[in-house]
Amino acid sequence: MTARMRINPTRCRGHAVCALYLADAVEIDRWGFGRVVEADLDTRRAVRRARRAAAACPNGAVVVADDRDRSGPPATGSDPRTGAGRW
């Protein structure tokens, strides 16, 4: 099973609960906001832990979605190759 994890930066308020579940996949920046460093969840265990983190986040900022389209640029932020944002 593969899935992809994202943190919705518009919801994250820096509780850092995600980092308790996902120490390897999430880092907390200097202001306490979470950032995904490993978005691809390749094992059942990784998916399970990400789903727990999603359930535990008080703001519902952790999003786990089935991986559908890897080919396009990231839907959020911008594509470093083209500078294109969300299309």
Partner: protein, 463 residues
Amino acid sequence: MTGLDRSAVGAGTVAGSGRVVAATEGSVRIGGLGEPGTVLLSGPLPSAGPEPLDDHLGRWGSLPGRDGDGVLALARASRLDGRGGGGFPLARKLATARESGGEPVLVVNASESEPASAKDAALGAHRPHLVLDGAALAAEALGVSSVTVHLHRRAAAPLDGLTRAVAERRRSGHDGVTWRVSLGPDRYVAGEASAVAGFLHDGDARPRFGAAPLAVVGPSGRPTVVANAETLAHLGVIARLGAGPWADLGWGASPGPRLLTVTGSVGRPGHVLELTGPGTLGDVLVAGGLSAPPGAVLVGGFAGTWVDGDEAWQVPWERSALSCLGAVPGCGLVGVLPHGACGLVESARLVRYLAGESAGQCGTCAVGLPRLAAAMEALAAGTFRRRALRRAEALAGELLGSGACGHPDGVVRLVRSTLSVFADDVVRHLAGEPCRHADHPPVFAVPGAHRVSDGRRRGGRAT
């Protein structure tokens, strides 16, 4: 498709543009509204105001009839790239929305949010029907019956041009679509695609987080195509000239003609020029009134990339050539910094403005951008010297990729290119030498110095 194109030109419906094609093949043409050698900007002089529908059709001929597949094939064959800033291929947006299920939403994004850019305003104010032609074609490709034209509520001239044009088309029953005009707030990030789509859905003009592209599913739950006004105007031209002849008016990875706004230290800041053929940035600067390379050029937008003046003079205005200098065409902004001005001071002002334009939704952007601006200001002022530089570099690294939209990424791009292009100035400022250009008046006009960043902002309602 070639047959159709030939017949359109052969029938003399686009006599003017046919001449343009012949004249510009292989040669560089740069001109403003109504000047010879232009394509999108061809037609009456700016003093004539918005071109009426009859005049427009008299010059260009009526839109050749095509089905949705035909329009999509045309967009694909032309390789038309988005002109709002992202450079994303229009055909891919259209194809994705068609495949995604549900009735798509089509939005003409004429809300030019880059403060120094004036190209979409020029089209809206003077060539509105070319934009609406392209929108009608895109509607055909998507199979939708309604199109929303979105622009800033304070953009008086393009608003007047586009609303008049919409009224003319409604009266004439020219297209099979229902036109709507929507007015949003004139904030920097409010023109971003997901912010526009969101505003139309619920009146909140802030960028949206989304796991999927808008063309798959937008804020309304429907596939949403937000296309820049210039991009659609090109589609209107492509339908007349044909994909190949249109693409040949560009260069390499940047097919077709393109609109550029020249600003900063030039004779007419905010002048919109159309470039056709294999032109360099130097050619554009000459057309803007320069006779020698300037100190530096800001390419692509306020959140763009500095290019050294001598390099800028040589570099082709073409995506892959610009990318060698770390730049992207963006919205086509060409900002001229004269030799007598300080790039660090100018950049610090831009970063401070852009920091104030954060929508305040994403923590890292809301907190980090003002600090990045402070670091750049300290560097420019020569205070906290080494610490300011280290801090700017560290903050840039943390801000990159931190937002729901590309706003922080754009500011990081500006900061990084500032530190590399003005590396000599950085060294001087670090050495504590007083900045030789500290007294130079601001080169780029940054709007709304009176505005105070208050974090959240909500937009008004669509009309």
